[in-house]
Amino acid sequence: MAGETESGTGQDQPVATTHPEGAQIKTEERAEAPNLVVSTGPRGLSERVKQAAIATFITAVLAFFFFPIRTSIAPGGLDITWRWSLYALALIFAFFGKLLVDAYLLSPAGPRVRAMVSGLFILGFVILYAWHPLGDILFGTGQFEELLGSILIGTVFGAILLGLVVLISRATGKIGTAATGVAAQKKADRISTFGKWALRVLFVVALMLPWIVMFLFPNRDRQLIDISILILTYVMLGWGLNIVVGLAGLLDLGYVAFYAVGAYAYALLAQYFGFGFWMALPLAGLFAAMWGIMLGFPVLRLRGDYLAIVTLAFGEIIRVVLLNWSEFTGGPDGIGRIPKPTLFGIEFNRGEGGFADIFGLDYDTIHRFIFFYYIIFVLALITHFATMRLRRLPVGRAWEALREDEIACRSLGINTTLVKLSAFSIGAMFGGFAGSFFATRQGFISPESFTFIESAIILAIVVLGGLGSQIGVVFASIVMIGGIELLRNIGFLSVVFGENFDPTQFRMLIFGLAMVLIMVWKPRGLISARQPSAVYKERKSIGADVVAQGEGH
């Protein structure tokens, strides 16, 4: 964690050229270098041990007030519980972990060192695991399992994640190769071919998903379809935000506000006017777009980070208003009994006139799950195709031009305020659609569902996927949202690790770590090539190194 020696990359700063050419590409290469290229880490064994010792010392300092000491509520105030064993174990893992990470990732060692380090690590692990009594004596009953469990889950999840990222990277060109000129072109082309195929395969899988799931996992089909619905909701949100952040280059940290507006628009229309889902859906989108314009108008002339903080503030304002305007919105209790959508007037009820009755099927709740799945699938597809179409229209091209250079846009007679507003409101509209879908799926909404962390997750999906990349958003949603949900459902591990082991509490911890690791590894996101919106003779992908990221450059 703390080890590798200074590599001199720190002095580099993006050169303030108007378009990222030479210098900036170089800077980026160098910025990526310490994580991928192997020149800076420790070499000799003694150096490795020294670095591991430093890392362990730092871990010791960091963890001192969190591992061994735990403040807990006792009669008459707070009390301290000591957990030295946990601390000791954490330090041991820090030492060997650092050795391992160095030996394999940061500064690959020769086979002898690798074997030695891994051997020691595995040996210790096996001894401790095989001989529980020793673990109990050393670490106190039960604590060892808990820690072991969390590490195991972290490792398994990390390995899956790593595997996915490596897989995508393999398919899209060698990791960390310098991307310039012809090489970049080739790399970008490979990415685009890969993207095209991945898109087709994904589309077919997504289209058939409920049936595949029902066939393969008959016992867990509801759960899995539900997770797929959730993932698709985030894909749609990601695509909506991609218009604002990826195409127009406007950093929006309050996107969840529009999701909330859409959800509440439907819930309130249903509650006060008895609107059905299909009637309310376009209105919800419209409301969200209107909010987009209302919020956007005063703030869109702010630049970069100022825009980010004001959008964040607006997101919070909407949430606080929803929370406190109890007479209208139900306040913290939210709104319940939101009606379910119908299929051309047919409800998915038990009994006469219901879906199952009309089609002569046995009533099964899975019908409604499948229906929901296809609703969000179609909504997401509409978002995708609308975005792709808009990109080829003058307005979409103006969004991208705005991201590349706002001043040049103005010199060409483009009203940048209008262009920003259009991006903001169209992005908001899709957020609103997704929101009203969320409301009808949940049947209940409250302000708690629309906190800043949601905005952060959606933004993370867009950035991790690769700004502006539609397929990237899909991958990132599957990895991040699917990943968290996977962790939510690994309660069975408590059978292995004892009753008081609760893996769900590590869920967000691992989520956050994954965010950091993926970003450090691939700062441009998983898929980062840009497809041109107009072609003269030959469609060529554009490497991410020349594409700007919006304001603040």
């Binding site: 910025a31 703030v299 919070e316 911890l509 989520f511």
Partner: protein
């Protein structure tokens, strides 16, 4: 009138805490131009470390005055040191590898780091709210308005402590930035990291120290928060962080006096809004003022106006 003065004191106290956290945001933004989203959670770390040390030392309301001052000083130092290491580590693992990369990458790692820290604290210390008994009580009654049907205006020792130590830290800090070699390196890095490096400034070290200083100040704010409100949970850093960042932007991001001014303005707005209008909408008031200030003064109260280069 008495009510007004009492609220003024309360607002200054809250504003001081915001200001101390805001300095961390503004320094980091000034030097590497990124929003350090994890800074609010560094503040939480500081508060938890302080809590642990207070319990370890057995400080309570019954401790004698001299001992109390010494013990609190010790708590302050320990929590500053340990929190500073956290600040350093976060920079080292999540931001330094991305330095010079594009702008959104460190923003995402910062949000990721914030999630990590929050949940790390939750996992290791539990999700429940931790209350402590008040340690410093009493204060100076400024004047008694009861005869006219008013209230007693009181400046509590706690409030005095917070306002005075914030003031002292600000003075010390201004000295550090304007007069010392470190401050010079920092200002040089703000202007041009590459040139600073060519002139022999250790840029990595300077940036690390910036994070260390920001974290140490956040630890001070954490201790004060703990003493003032007497409750902690793993989530306090989020709202405090956003408020403090708002304060930094309000004052003009990149400007140290601006951060302090922004903090105090924000604290006053919140307290007065709660006192005279509604407690529920105090955040709405604070954020609305931010939006209004930015729309009319796009670089904040004390920020340098941005000249558009064509």
């Amino acid at each position: 009138m008495e009510y007004f003065i009492q609220q003024l004191i309360n607002g200054l106290t809250l504003g001081s805490i915001y200001g101390l956290i805001a300095i961390g945001y503004t320094m980091v933004y000034g030097i590497i131009g990124m929003i350090n989203f994890a800074h609010g959670d560094i503040f939480t770390v500081g508060a938890y470390v302080a809590l642990a040390v207070i319990l370890l030392l057995g400080i309570s309301g019954a401790t004698g005055a001299t001992m109390l001052v010494l013990a609190l000083l010790l708590v302050l130092v320990i929590s500053m040191v340990f929190t500073a290491v956290w600040g350093w580590t976060v920079e080292r693992i999540a931001y330094r590898p991305l330095r010079g990369s594009f702008r959104l990458a460190p923003l995402i790692t910062a949000i990721g780091m914030s999630i990590v820290l929050q949940n790390f604290i939750q996992v290791t210390q539990g999700a429940r709210v931790k209350p402590i008994q008040p340690i410093i009580s009493g204060g100076i009654p400024l004047f008694d308005g009861r005869s006219d049907g008013g209230i007693i205006v009181q400046l509590s020792w706690m409030q005095l402590l917070i306002i005075v130590s914030t003031f002292v830290l600000m003075v010390g800090f201004t000295f550090l930035i304007t007069k010392t070699a470190l401050g010079r390196s920092q200002r040089a890095c703000e202007q041009d990291q590459k040139m600073a490096a060519l002139l022999g400034v250790d840029v990595d070290k300077t940036i690390s120290l910036t994070f260390v200083m920001g974290a140490a100040l956040a630890a001070v704010a954490g201790l004060m928060f703990l003493l003032l409100y007497g409750v902690l949970d793993f989530y306090i850093g989020f709202l405090a962080g956003i408020k403090a960042f708002t304060a930094a932007v309000l004052g003009g991001i990149g400007s140290l006096p601006g951060a302090m001014l922004g903090g105090i303005v924000l604290g006053l707005i919140e307290v007065f809004w709660s006192a005279y209008f509604s407690v529920e909408y105090k955040d709405v008031a604070a954020f609305s003022i931010l939006a209004i200030v930015l729309i009319f003064m796009p670089s904040g109260l004390l920020g340098k106006p941005e000249v558009e280069k064509v």
